[in-house]
Symmetry: C2
Subunit: 374 residues, 2 copies
Amino acid sequence: MTLSPDTRAKELGVAQLPSTPRPPATLRDVAAAAGVSVATASRVLSGNPATSSTSRQAVTAAAAQLDFHPNVQARALRSSRTASIGLLIPDIRNPHFGDLAHCVEMHARERGLVTLISASDERLDTQETALRLLMSHNVDGLIVVPQGRRDSPRGPEALDAVVQRGIPLVLADRMVSGLDVPAVVPGTNGLTDAVNELLSLGHERIALIAGPATSSTGRERRLAFDAALDAAGATPDPDLVHEGDFQPASGREGVARLLGLPPGRRPSAVVIADGPMAVGALAALNERGVRIPQDLSVVAHDDLDAFRLCDPPVSAIAQDIAAMGAVALNLLLEPPADGEERTVRQPTLFIQRGSVAEAGLQKSTTTMEGGDDS
Amino acid sequence: MTLSPDTRAKELGVAQLPSTPRPPATLRDVAAAAGVSVATASRVLSGNPATSSTSRQAVTAAAAQLDFHPNVQARALRSSRTASIGLLIPDIRNPHFGDLAHCVEMHARERGLVTLISASDERLDTQETALRLLMSHNVDGLIVVPQGRRDSPRGPEALDAVVQRGIPLVLADRMVSGLDVPAVVPGTNGLTDAVNELLSLGHERIALIAGPATSSTGRERRLAFDAALDAAGATPDPDLVHEGDFQPASGREGVARLLGLPPGRRPSAVVIADGPMAVGALAALNERGVRIPQDLSVVAHDDLDAFRLCDPPVSAIAQDIAAMGAVALNLLLEPPADGEERTVRQPTLFIQRGSVAEAGLQKSTTTMEGGDDS
DNA sequence: TTGTAGGCGTTATCAG
DNA sequence: CTGATAACGCCTACAA
């Protein structure tokens, strides 16, 4: 009775125990079972047309029989292709990037590619180590929502290394100045529309909780904001722009700073440049009892589900993030030719909801006192 | 002039263009540069003590000089270890699982492991194909938030295959009946506390928007809910339980159904079994003009940032998801011995906020009319 | 302590 | 069309 479970099970005709780690079948096994050489087996399984229907049948049957799955490491070693792509995003917890990751991963999976997802936490050093790790796994391509600028002392060197190694690279959501690779980024048209709408509602003091100037989206949205004010002949007030870092805490800080201004200089409307900062800002406004839109009109970039929990719901500048993911993957798999445009801009859409109202509303109240409702 | 850039650059003696995909250095190169054999180089770099300090210095210097990184595919082929783990979650966009993914990925990266993240979209068939794909990449271990039950006709067969192949497996957030592997799941104490608090506030008709019975969390939360009512001698009303599917739409449906009950049978409080359903439910309540907590007290499982945007903020049952991720990774890397407990329960915490109030409030109003505020 | 050599599983290059 | 066979880059007995 000292038979191995394997033998015993077979002898007794008993169902195999769940824990029978039999080594997976190799191409050799398949070839042997099919009565052909490994070369022929390989050809059949990789769709090489130089095969007879006889061997094709024998090999496919044997492969199915043995539940053969090619060893991806061996294949990668030989062909230097790993059937994997890397995706580096600033923060998985931000639903915006979560959506992006979801979409990229799903489409990649449909094409038989696995996605190695990594997060940079909006930090340059983390981006560097994460990129090195992804590169060390020989991903076939890389989609990156980048950090940092190339003209700063400590720039995104790992990104240069990626390009230098000849690994296909696509930037998503943000660009890096001086790095000429295909990219898909959101347009600023939605933001422009939002500011114009606020202006046409009579708002004269419109604030911006901006993204960091180190990110192209931060810069571009600020430029679009300024340009829209400028085009309307409005005088921009630097005190009405708070530069945040795309994190909720900086949204709160922005609110605190704007509400801390002397009464006459406070804004009657605020535009917030990304979702997490908007969540922080809205939470802070909520805590302070600032009413929207009576005391302050609000527009947020990125249309989060959470905005529908506010009463009235928050106006938003929506992007089709799923489309952005799909475009990024396409740019990666079918790179644009040299002549073609390498930067795709996705339109954004201003969605007006109850959180914006005429500027007159604010003027008729004695609000923005920052917390006391008396 | 039809030379490849490569050849042309060489012939002209021109500085190499930035796109010079020089093949990465191999162990051979390092050994040659250091004047030792590949075996010695390998030993030095893998920390084998059988090395002289002379060769150690030469090899490390050469490796640094050549920017050597071992080829992970070759190493994996030899050692059958890929330095990668797989993580399968239902939905990256759910911040709950986004947090989990973030935490697992971060800790794994600190240990030099890459994480292959995949999403099952709360679907059994997607889970199966995703698992097969992860297995085919020979991940060293797998953390899965599972779908399906083993006793159903089409069960999670791929999970059995994982176990059968001997791949270390840890379940997170949910369990699968009959699958005896290490798991970390949330406790139900927070939910019990929440129901008890509602009861002590005088609520007699407490509704539950439950998770699917196909998931262990769905079942367990419903059981805890029933048990808490039972312990208090309350009579549960099946009409007050709506079984959703953890997605926002089913939260909306639950609200519609509860508000559709005849006035006398409507709930004065509702507990919602996960974050996305809570978002859907709160959005629906908001649209219908149902006031919280005057018309309805609300408690949601999982503490989302979005809940702070509501006025008053929504009471929640919080879990330390980061801890859950850390525990899952630990269970994977250091599996419990046979005698030890294999299922870790993480405590959950009921956080009371303004969205719950005494039951009397509801009775004093003529509300729950579903939209008309007159 | 060091070097030689075999092999992990696959693909690609040759002759047949 | 097929079959030997040589890599791919690394690790590790085994022998020196």
